[in-house]
């Protein structure tokens, strides 16, 4: 048992830090720190910077253009990026489709699609959820009927994050209509520029517009755009759920949010003293820090394979990490007191009260991040997974 990083890992951390210092544009870091949305061009800019160094696809093997990092190195990379307020790598191509293609794709699919993810030719979005199938993916209704060399796809996807930028979508669709619902699902790669694809933005309660509905009407998808066998889509979806463990907790972002909160509590005043000088607030911050410190170790234990390989492990991490992030966001919102009220973007922000600009969006971030415990498998679904692991079938 030894929690220290090896000399090699320490050197790696220094290398990442130096890279970020030299290559992360201030302009981007400032926006990220303030919780502002990045434009498509800004996200692409950051992807290109990482790709130039060979660090974009942290989880891919060297063979396909990944850096071949260990779990701990990936964790260090993620943590350093978040601390430096680097933009989050858009996960749909790099962290989700990439590993699926590597595991299930044909040689031709890998050769065609993987480089395009790295060099930014394709922007991917994820077509899983449907209006009637949020947490219950088995009941999805988008249908793909095979005709000659293509599938004809009809249906509706929703909660499709960043679909407004995407030219490609990987989607779960129903290809068999009898038998067990899980056994009739396939995994398709859909060209968003095809006729019959229509997207409509969904505005969220914080005023943001990152998610979308996608309507699919008689969309033709070539059969070679199916990944894995027909009706094997459920297996792929489950693989993905268990695969992406490094980042499931988003630890780097939780750590960065905590550091921002601590700074904010040193700055916001109540009854003439900084919040952090009030024993009650300071103790609340300390309680969060204890959970955070524990979660770092829990995360690393899981990454090191101490905690078993069941789906219960990432599920527990996701629950605790999302709740912790939400608690941090909530404290940041509270720290602002009445100054949390202004709607970001409305009114002359720079003239408003005594709020540091990087905290001006605290309330909006708090509301937006209520999604963390809902999207990507709600915490209720995660609890069901863990419970079944603990109790077995009853």
């Amino acid at each position: 048992m030894d929690l220290r990083l090896t000399a090699q890992e320490e050197a790696f951390r220094a290398e990442v830090r130096a890279f970020l210092r030299d290559h992360l544009p201030d302009r981007l870091a400032r926006k990220v720190r303030a919780g502002e949305s990045l434009s498509k061009a800004e996200m692409e800019e950051w992807h290109a910077i990482l790709n130039a160094r060979g660090w974009l696809a942290a989880g891919w093997p060297r063979e396909w253009g990944g850096p071949g990092w260990s779990a701990v190195e990936r964790y260090i990379f993620e943590e350093e990026c978040a601390r430096a307020h680097a933009p989050r790598v858009v996960p749909f191509g790099v962290s989700m489709l990439g590993p699926v293609l590597i595991a299930f794709g044909t040689e031709a699919q890998k050769r065609h699609w993987l480089p395009r993810i790295l060099n930014g030719q394709d922007w991917w979005c994820q077509g899983y959820s449907e209006p009637g199938a949020g947490s219950d993916l088995a009941s999805l209704r988008t249908r793909a009927v095979r005709e000659d060399g293509h599938y004809l796809v009809n249906g509706q996807k929703t909660w499709t994050t960043l679909a407004q930028h995407a030219n490609m979508m990987f989607a779960l669709v129903r290809t068999r209509f009898e038998g067990k619902p899980q056994e009739g699902i396939s995994f398709l790669l859909i060209d968003m520029t095809s006729p019959g694809v229509e997207r409509r933005p969904i505005r969220t309660i914080d005023g943001g517009q990152e998610i979308n509905e996608v309507f699919l009407t008689d969309v033709r998808v070539p059969v070679e755009n199916r990944v894995g066998e027909e009706n094997q889509g459920w297996t792929i979806a489950k693989y993905l759920l268990g695969h992406e463990r490094t980042n499931i907790a988003g630890m780097g972002f939780v750590i960065a949010a905590f550091e921002e909160l601590r700074a904010l509590m040193g700055r916001m005043r109540r009854d003439g003293r900084p919040l952090i000088a009030h024993p009650r607030f300071a103790a609340r911050l300390a309680a969060i820090e204890c959970e955070l410190e524990a979660l770092k170790i829990t995360n690393l234990r899981m990454l090191s394979g101490h905690g078993g390989q069941s789906l219960a492990v990432p599920a527990m991490l996701k629950i605790r990490a999302t709740v912790l992030r939400q608690q941090i966001d909530s404290l940041a919102r509270q720290a602002l007191g009445p100054a949390a009220a202004p709607f970001p973007g409305e009114g002359p922000r720079d003239n408003l009260a005594l709020v540091p600009p990087e905290a001006a969006r605290a309330a909006a971030i708090y509301f937006n991040n209520r999604k963390l415990s809902i999207f990507g498998g709600s915490n209720e679904i995660q609890r069901n997974i863990v419970a079944q692991d603990m109790l077995g079938r009853l």
Binding site: I202, A353, L354, A363, I374, E380
Partner: protein, 357 residues
């Protein structure tokens, strides 16, 4: 002991509920609450025509109410409809003006909007951090300082400003046109403003205003509690209905026991919030006012947040969308706690009394 509302208040609630259902359906609210001037001036006039402000003022001052339960009745209706009209600032201004000789007719009929400019960026509710200074100039006064987050300040023609002269906290009237005003919309709808005073001419209204300002603050806090109770009622109604109708895994999600039990906990929190608001309403105007209002605001702040968070969570993705009403109710329920002292501030006040008193 009697928990039956008086006939007058029952009628008032009915009238307001009917008007708001008619004039302020959710789509209308959505259209006006987030766009300058962050409310609906026509509806404002109509509400004042119905006597919504007169209900907040006693007969002696030209109204027909003014007791704690009148305030609670009005704001519970506003909360149910999630109405962003600036009734809270009017209430607080009226409480501050009541002890003065000033005629209130133009305020009560809605034609002159007045807002109270109290705090200056410190998150606490003590008046000790108020630094705006009043100085005599010529025959009158000028004020200098900066007032943060003035509810209703975006539409007020007149600002009632708390400022220090010598060692005393006084209340001054400033014409809104004379101050630099930064108006903005709020994340949960409705508007507010910040003002900058730089030797701005002012009229002295109350020389020692500490008690009056405390009363205005507490009446406002009571109003927020009642508004929260109304919004909680609707949020829980909507969530219950969603659990009954939304299906996943082949059954209504309300049949899942984990959600059932959480819903029940919300209902209990709501009943507790309603009860403590009743206690605060009953205490308004008695010696127990400060303590009762702080108890209410402290309890309601926490309950409102928990109900809001759970209502979103139980609605799933739908709860995150701008189009669905529930997210807006949730925002209001969370942000209410940021107004006029959050749960922490009021708990601190209660806690200090254990040792002090």
């Amino acid at each position: 002991m009697d928990f039956t509302p008086t006939e007058d208040r029952r009628l008032l609630a009915e009238t307001l509920d009917r008007f708001l259902a008619d004039r302020y359906p959710f789509q209308h609210r959505l259209a006006v609450a987030y766009r300058e001037p962050w409310h609906d001036p026509a509806a404002w006039g109509a509400l004042c025509g119905l006597g919504i402000l007169s209900a907040l003022v006693p007969e002696a001052r030209g109204g027909f109410g003014g007791q704690g339960f009148d305030i609670a009745t009005v704001f519970e209706s506003l909360g149910r409809a999630l109405c962003p009209e600036p009734v809270l600032p009017a209430l607080m201004a009226l409480r501050a003006l009541m002890p003065t000789g000033r005629a209130l007719d133009d305020v009560l009929d809605g034609s002159r909007q007045v807002a109270l400019a109290l705090f200056e960026g410190d998150g606490g509710i003590g008046f000790g951090q108020i630094a705006t200074r009043a100085e005599r100039r010529g025959g009158g006064w000028v004020l200098s300082g900066r007032k943060a987050v003035i509810y209703g300040g975006h539409v007020a023609a007149e600002l009632l400003v708390a400022a220090r002269h010598d060692d005393t906290l006084g209340l001054f009237s400033v014409s809104a046109g004379d101050a630099r005003r930064l108006a903005y919309g709020m994340i949960d709808g409705g508007g507010a403003a910040e003002i900058l005073l730089e030797a701005t001419p002012a009229e002295l209204m109350i020389a020692d205003a500490e008690a009056v300002l405390g009363d205005a603050l507490e009446a406002g806090a009571l109003a927020l509690c009642a508004e929260a109770v109304g919004a909680m009622d609707r949020a829980i109604e909507m969530t219950t209905e969603y659990l009954r109708t939304r299906r996943q895994f082949g059954r209504p999600i309300g049949s899942f026991q984990a959600l059932q039990h959480r819903l029940v906990d919300l209902a209990i929190e709501r009943e507790q919030a309603r009860s403590i608001t009743i206690a605060a309403a009953a205490a308004l105007g008695t010696e127990g006012q400060s303590r009762a209002v702080s108890m209410a605001k402290a309890l309601v702040g926490g309950a409102a947040r928990r109900i809001a968070e759970e209502a979103i969570q139980m609605h799933g993705g739908i709860g995150m969308t701008w189009e669905a009403a529930i997210g807006h109710y949730a925002k209001r329920l969370v942000m209410l706690d940021h107004q006029l002292g959050d749960a922490d501030a009021h708990l601190d006040r209660l806690a200090a009394a254990y040792c002090g008193g």
